[in-house]
């Protein structure tokens, strides 16, 4: 925290801004944005690239100040081969050890979330939900997951997105009840599972100096053996974005989309099946109830005690509603794919017409 003095004596002297910062220690200010250090961006990219296309995860370290989550460092988690008990214990020990080691060299020792790599935006999974729920539960809602899409980033534009769960989803997950009723109660739909937080990237002064130095590439690293012509500055303009081959990207995206739609249909089928079952059971119950009533009226006519109606209600048990979480996630995923396709097609149209002009 920026102001860590004893609150009782120093609070009066603090300016308005600092008071909120001091109050923030209790975690009252909700997160509004995420600010990432340049180093973290590079570290995440490096880790994700090395294990591409396998998904990887890692821990984010930093502080939250006045609703801005500052991510100043991160470290990768070892890839899990099997999720048996041993692995989990190892993972936990690794985390503790790493945090202790980093603290010794003055790295921020505060977990603020985790990152994950993804392929074409297919990140809305059960695993992510569980992990993020744990994080948000443990760290008082002040934790985000940063999703890095390697395949999109190679197209020349970095794809980093920060998410956290909405309050509605947290409540629903807490009860771990995803029935139609509870979804309506929490006003939960696929579009408000996550809250996306805007990301800004900040470099330290020294890093800015380094970037300027990299511009002057020949000065920073004296060339002795290589001839000058082959020297290309690392910051020379990048024209990857102008790449025209769009087929593989769209193809893969559509493929994923189809898969998701298929899963969705399956979910729908399960749901209608359940509905039909409920209907059938209810019809059965109604007819039994009717019968009992008739019987009772005839018994009453002949002067006998009416039979109770409660046991019929007990006899027919309505099947439990299947969890709607899956279908919720799948719809969110479909929405994601569609958004991506749209986002991609816009610039590509532009590129097309540019290529068309070039041919004239």
């Amino acid at each position: 925290m920026t102001s860590s003095g004893t609150p009782s004596t120093t609070k009066e002297t603090l300016s308005n801004v600092n008071v909120t910062a001091a109050l923030d220690v209790e975690g009252n200010v909700p997160l509004k944005s995420v600010q990432i250090d340049g180093l973290v961006v590079l570290k995440i990219i490096k880790h994700c690239r090395e294990f591409f296309p396998n998904p990887v995860t890692g821990q984010l370290l930093g502080l939250d100040v006045n609703g801005v989550l500052e991510v100043t460092n991160c470290f990768p988690f070892p890839g899990s081969k099997a999720d048996d008990e041993n692995e989990l214990v190892d993972g936990a020990r690794y985390q503790v050890d790493m945090m202790r080691c980093l603290r010794e060299v003055n790295v921020d020792n505060n977990t603020v979330g985790w990152y994950q790599s993804t392929y074409l935006g297919s990140f809305v999974t059960h695993k992510l939900i569980e992990t993020q729920y744990n994080y948000q539960q443990t760290f008082n809602n002040k934790s985000v997951v940063i999703v890095h899409d390697v395949s999109r980033s190679t197209h020349g534009n970095l794809s980093l997105r920060a998410f956290r769960f909405s309050q509605a989803f947290m409540e629903a997950q807490k009860e771990s009840k995803f029935t139609t009723e509870s979804l309506i109660k929490n006003k939960l739909t696929f579009s408000n599972i996550f809250e996306e937080l805007p990301i800004t990237v900040k470099n330290s002064h020294l890093m800015t100096a380094l970037l300027h130095s990299l511009d002057d590439y020949e000065h920073i690293i004296p060339k002795t053996t290589l001839d000058k012509e082959t020297v290309v500055s690392p910051l020379s303009p990048n024209f990857d974005t102008l790449e025209l081959s769009l087929d593989p990207y769209i193809e893969k995206n559509l493929e994923f989309l189809l898969e998701a739609v298929e899963e969705h249909t399956q979910e729908q089928n399960t749901y209608t099946f359940w509905q039909r079952n409920v209907g059938r059971e209810q019809a059965k119950m109604q007819s039994a109830l009717q019968k009992r009533k008739q019987e009772n009226s005839s018994r009453q006519a002949s002067g006998l005690e009416p039979l109770p109606e409660d046991d019929i209600l007990k006899m027919y048990k309505l099947p439990a509603e299947p969890s709607r979480l899956d279908s919720l996630l799948i719809t969110a995923q479909i929405n994601n794919y569609c958004k991506q396709l749209n986002q991609y097609s816009g610039p590509t149209l532009g590129k097309f017409f540019m290529a068309g002009e070039l041919q004239k």
Binding site: V41, P78, D97, T200, L211, T225, C338, P347
Partner: protein, 305 residues
């Protein structure tokens, strides 16, 4: 571990040429390439140094080519050390622990050397170099990378230099060593490119921060850059035609090459291809939009039930 300084330390900081009289162990050409993430990590470590600490050191991790002539420094981690006028102590325990932890994530990366900030090499460098020489698998050599965070050189730039060491003297002593500069290169992968671009876009900003671009913005930026380059080339060609600048054969050849890269496609053929792809793209985007609308309707209905 504390390494006591020997009083008879012979310290040669920067030999300009290979001195005669001893054998350089690795006479093959030797190159080092550094991943940008290493440079950024070093700076971050330097920023977070202890008070009154003048410089920081750490371990470099990376991979070697099979014959050992190329070393790629891919990662690094800081190591705490303590340095006074007559003694230097490196936290070896810490170094080992960290290395074990790193090995769990990426087993391919091995210790290749160490880094330090500051531009000058002193007798402590020789001692630490001796320690790291034993850490890397023999017969390979430890690489020493320095970064000039004091900006005291003539260019006022963060100079990056790499060295290997050679023993010197009649009897080998750890504190006697000769640092030989080796060529070094910054190398990154395609995926890292976009990240680096983003960081670079913040370098001229006063508050040193930037937000992520959308694909469209990025494309616009790139197209603008292309336009600028085209204008520069046109300008140059016009000037040559005017005779105000003498023609340069090399540039001419480059221009020729560039122009010949534009593929010659039959006009009808191109039209067909263009329209085909355009229709595909529009179709896909239309369908995607429709799916999203469907989802949106479903969402509304769901809440109404």
């Amino acid at each position: 571990m504390s390494i006591d300084a020997a009083t008879s330390a012979l310290h040669l900081s920067f030999p300009p040429t290979t001195a005669t009289g001893f054998v350089v162990p690795q006479s093959r050409s030797f190159t080092v390439s550094v991943n940008p993430v290493v440079l950024f990590s070093v700076l971050d470590h330097y920023l977070r140094r202890q008070e009154k600490q003048h410089r920081v050191i750490g371990t470099l991790l990376g991979v070697r080519s099979e014959d050992g002539s190329e070393v790629e420094v891919r990662n690094c981690f800081p190591v705490s050390h303590d340095e006074t006028d007559n003694q230097v102590a490196v936290d070896m325990e810490y170094h080992r622990n960290m290395f074990e932890l790193h090995k769990k994530v990426n087993a391919k990366e091995v210790i290749v050397g160490w880094y330090a900030t500051g531009s000058n090499l002193n007798q402590w460098n020789a001692l630490i170099q001796d320690f790291y020489s034993r850490e890397v698998m023999p017969p390979f050599q430890a690489i020493h990378l320095t970064m000039d965070t004091d900006l005291k050189n003539d260019d006022k730039l963060l100079g990056v230099k790499t060295y290997v060491s050679a023993p010197i003297g009649i009897s080998a002593k750890p504190e006697n060593c000769l640092f030989l500069p080796v060529p070094c290169d910054v190398k990154y992968f395609d995926a890292e490119r976009s990240g680096l671009d983003l960081l670079a876009s913040a370098k001229n900003d006063t508050d040193r921060s930037t937000s992520l671009f959308s694909d469209m913005d990025n494309l616009e930026k790139t197209i603008k850059a292309v336009f600028e380059m085209l204008e520069r080339v046109t300008d140059y060609v016009n000037k040559v035609l005017d005779g105000s600048i003498p023609a340069d054969n090399t540039i001419g050849r480059f221009l020729m090459d560039t122009i010949s890269v534009v593929p010659k496609i039959d006009k009808v053929e191109f039209e067909k291809m263009f329209n085909g792809h355009l229709q595909d793209l529009l179709m896909v985007s239309y369908l995607a939009n429709m799916t999203r609308t469907q989802l949106a309707i479903a969402e509304r209905l769901q809440l109404l039930v």
